[in-house]
Amino acid sequence: MSRQLHDAVASPALWVLVLFIVLLIGMPASAPLFHWAFPLVSPPVFERTTFLALFLSHAGMVAAASVASTLLGVGVAILVTRPAGRDFRPIANTLATIGQTFPPAAVLALAVPALGFGPRPTIIALFLYGLLPIIENSIAGLDGVPAAVRDAAAGMGLSAWQRLRDVELPLAAPAILAGVRVSVTIAIGTATIGSTVGALTLGTPIFDGLAGNKIPFVVQGAALVALFAIVTDMLFARLDRHLRITAAGGPPGEYFGNNAG
């Protein structure tokens, strides 16, 4: 068996991903199991819509919110780490902290009157909630670029834009990614409450189950949300390893040992 194939098969990420996809598509097939465990609940599997449709809607909202908070978060971090924007750093930190401490449920409640029911209030709540980890990590990453590297880059005549693009962002990338990873993982869990304001998410079966006293629905929704979050986190872990190797300099396997694949 080739080394790559062996690594892939031995990786837990692959098997969790397979389990997730099987459950996502094949959940109705588990009806006999749930019927046996909860004979009084009918139907035994959530069937108002498919789990795949719930997942796609859920993932779409998380993606929209996360792309927006990444763009704004990294943008703000870049701005406040420039000489001209340094004064705005405390403000950016404060605003992001407020976004984080404000309960997402309250954001939903406040956003509904303005935006109506559906996915939009959820996206807004996830976006605000996801900003802080991205801003904080991006600032830490940009601050972490060694002073000598900055000095050399400026001293050799790289323009401010070239220094940012070619030196600072690549070196800060692992830290930025860590922020995005936390933000997305939180968003996947938090998006479930969007179901309370009419967004379709994997939380819909959970809230339907709670309202109708149908425990199997709660189990089905919760299991899929958890697996979704775990799979996403594992994919980020892989991306992170790749970025760290690139940012640290050095090809995998040669200098970093064999744990880099």
Binding site: P146, A148, V149, R150, D151, A152, A153, A154, G155, M156, G157, L158, S159, Q162, V167, P170, L171, T246, A247, A248, G249, G250, Y255
Partner: protein, 308 residues
């Protein structure tokens, strides 16, 4: 090459550089020498506009540097620093190629130049080209740092304590290399150090700085023979230490008795008086023959000549 006229830099209420003037001739190896906080690094960093100055003028090659865009100015001046500042995420070849690429050299010319520089610093191009900085030893990284500074063949090279962080043996080797390259290429070098030994070994001209002012500006020998004040005397290590330093700066040729004869293994006229003294001590003699570079006898030198 560089004219610094009445330049001052004020941080808060402290004058880090205080009305400083210097004229650094083309092709010289100029060392800024002084304790930490004396303003030597700040002055160096003003020359490529990394530090803005509050008053005065600096001209490089006749051009007022404030009339040149900072990026353009820096691309024509080599810059090497103590902790190398190599880009950890770039391979050695890309690090060295930084300025040539900024200047838009064609890729084949860049590649050839990288090979040439690696060879100049005795790093095998095929072994080192594709490595990353952290795969190299400290001394190798420092060589790459200097190679990168020389990449676009600048007439002027600024070096801020480039060898301070490497071990003494590697430092001596690097000093030898930069000296060889500077003598071969006739580049103007401005070199910052707090190490008097390093300054005496490398410099054609030394500026001793204290509290943002030049307290003495001259040839290494002048510094040792006629220290301007108590500060310079203390900095060069006191009278006894500077006597030994002088022996290493003076050549046998200066104290030679032409035509005189002596027994034994001859000395080169290029050898320092220190070498001569060492040879006499080791062989228990007070008189040695001297030859020129081609091995032709020139005369002799005696112990009394050395201490004259």
């Amino acid at each position: 090459m560089i004219e610094i006229e009445g330049v001052s830099k004020i941080y808060g209420d402290r004058r880090v550089v205080d009305d400083l003037s210097l004229s650094i001739p083309e092709g010289s190896f100029c060392v800024f020498l002084g304790p930490s906080g004396c303003g030597k690094s700040t002055t160096l960093r003003m020359i490529n506009r990394l530090v803005p100055f509050d008053s005065g003028t600096i001209r490089v090659g006749g051009d007022d540097i404030r009339q040149i865009r900072p990026e353009a100015l820096r691309r024509r001046i080599g810059y090497a620093i103590q902790s190398t500042g190599l880009f950890p995420h770039w391979r050695i070849q890309d690090n060295i190629a930084t300025v040539p690429r900024l200047l838009g050299w064609p890729s084949q010319r860049v590649r050839d130049r990288v090979t040439e520089l690696l060879e100049l610093f005795r790093l095998d191009p095929e072994t080192y080209r594709l490595k990353f900085p952290q795969q190299l030893s400290g001394g190798e990284q420092q060589r790459v740092g200097v190679a990168r500074a020389l990449a676009a063949d600048p007439d002027l090279l600024l070096m801020d304590e480039p060898f301070a962080a490497v071990d003494p043996i590697t430092r001596a080797a690097l000093q030898g290399e930069i000296l060889r390259i500077q003598r071969d290429t006739k580049k103007t070098v401005v070199f910052v150090t707090h190490d008097i030994e390093e300054a005496l070994r490398l410099a054609t001209d030394i500026a001793v700085l204290d509290h943002g002012r030049v307290v003495q500006w001259g040839k290494p020998v002048e510094l040792l023979e006629h220290p301007a004040n108590e500060f310079v005397t203390r900095f060069v290590g006191g009278v006894d230490a500077s006597a030994f330093s002088l022996l290493s700066l003076r050549k046998v040729a200066e104290r030679l008795q032409p035509g005189a004869a002596a027994e034994g293994e001859p000395l080169s006229a290029d050898a320092s008086l220190r070498d001569a003294l060492a040879a006499m001590t080791a062989r228990h003699v007070d008189r040695l023959p001297v030859v020129d570079a081609a091995g032709q006898p020139l005369g002799a030198v005696t112990l009394a000549d050395l201490v004259r």
